[in-house]
């Protein structure tokens, strides 16, 4: 039997084990979050009021329909360790115990990102990461571009479908949600 040897790729410097260990030990002021995105450790400051308004507005409507959600859940994806602004799943997902700070995204129904001053990662790396993690729906509330994008049908490397709306407009969510997010800014 032949052992398949993984050749070290030219992106070796991006996946030095140090970055992952360092991510967990990083000492940050309150509100800051650190993620590992395509090999970079990305540190984002505490969100502003408008960001939290969107968070609360989306949260409220999903909760009212029986969905469970977290704003600080860590997910392992093929492109890094992400912490979505909202991780939405059934109760059973949150009953799992992996005893790790970043965990498997299996069972996540929807992730939501609300952009901050730097929208690049939300638009690009994280979109591809969520798609590769096979998370069925990714809602991007892109404040800078003043629109929302609902990505669906994750395929090999990306989402196959992107539904764009001007920000503030109702966002129809497909099954298993089957309702429309409306009036989601405080």
């Amino acid at each position: 039997m032949q052992d398949v040897m993984e050749r070290p790729s030219v992106t070796d410097e991006q996946h030095s084990p140090g970055s992952e260990e360092f991510l967990d030990s990083l000492d940050l002021p309150p509100g800051f979050k650190a993620e590992l995105i395509e090999g970079d450790i990305v540190v984002t400051p505490a969100p502003d009021e408008e960001h939290e308004g969107y968070f609360a507005g989306v949260n409220r409507q999903l909760s009212a329909r029986g969905w469970w959600l977290s704003g600080t859940y860590g997910l392992v994806t093929p492109l890094g360790k992400f912490q979505p602004d909202l991780t939405v799943a059934r109760r059973e997902f949150f009953a799992r115990r992996e005893h790790k700070s970043y965990r498997s995204p299996d069972g996540v129904a929807l992730v939501v990102e609300i952009t901050s001053s730097n929208p690049s990662n939300d638009r690009d790396s994280k979109r591809r990461g969520y798609a590769r993690a096979k998370i069925p729906l990714y809602l991007l509330i892109d404040r800078k571009a003043e629109r929302t994008v609902l990505f669906s049908e994750p395929t090999q490397g990306d989402y196959a479908v992107a539904d764009r709306q001007p920000i503030g407009e109702p966002i129809p969510l497909p099954e298993p949600f089957a309702f429309t997010l409306e009036d989601y800014l405080a």
Partner: protein, 183 residues
């Protein structure tokens, strides 16, 4: 009686990324940069990437230029290029500590394979907005070099792509040709 150890008061609001980027306790071999309000921490060059960087660094030294790793405060962010090239007289007017204002930098260089900041052009645009005349980007993934020149407003207006092994003629004030990188 033990004297209480005075805890230094934070000089500024450390909850701001601008302050945090200077106070983060990084392990050796990492650099912190700031772009659009987000702090990006990534490893400095090592292994193959360091080999490419040093190959070019040696050539700059041979032609009388200094190559160092310093932090540059640009209009679009605080970046630490893999190599910042200055003439040896640069150090006589001590630029001081911390993030340098890149007004007397001859050239910067980054060696990478897949740097998200590079891919999105944010780093390049920062260098251009700072008026750094030349930016050499060595792309190990695509095995090519890109020499950017003539910064105007927020980007370079000239770019020359070459295979990574091909010599790179540098304009004034260098007026010598960098040998390409061969493994």
């Amino acid at each position: 009686v033990t004297k209480p150890i005075a805890k230094p008061e934070p000089a500024d609001d450390w909850s701001e990324p601008e302050q945090l980027v200077d106070t983060l306790d990084l392990p050796l071999g990492y650099k912190a940069e700031l772009v659009e309000g987000t702090i990006i921490i990534r490893p400095t060059a090592s292994g193959g990437r360091l080999s490419v960087k040093m190959s070019f660094t040696r050539q700059f030294f041979r032609h009388g230029w200094d190559g160092v790793m310093v932090g540059l405060a640009t209009p679009t962010g605080k970046f630490v290029p893999d190599l910042t090239v200055v003439d040896p007289g640069y150090w006589e007017n001590d630029p001081g500590k911390g993030w340098l204002i890149p007004d007397r930098i001859a050239m910067v260089m980054d060696v990478t394979s897949s740097d998200a900041l590079v891919d999105r052009g944010l780093r390049r645009q920062g260098y251009a907005a700072a008026g750094i005349p030349l930016y050499l980007f060595v792309d190990r993934r695509r095995k090519e070099t890109v020499l950017f020149g003539k910064p105007e407003d927020n980007d370079y207006t000239v770019s020359v792509w070459r295979p990574i092994s091909e010599p790179i003629p540098l304009p004034e004030p260098f007026s010598f040709t960098l040998e390409g990188f061969t493994t």
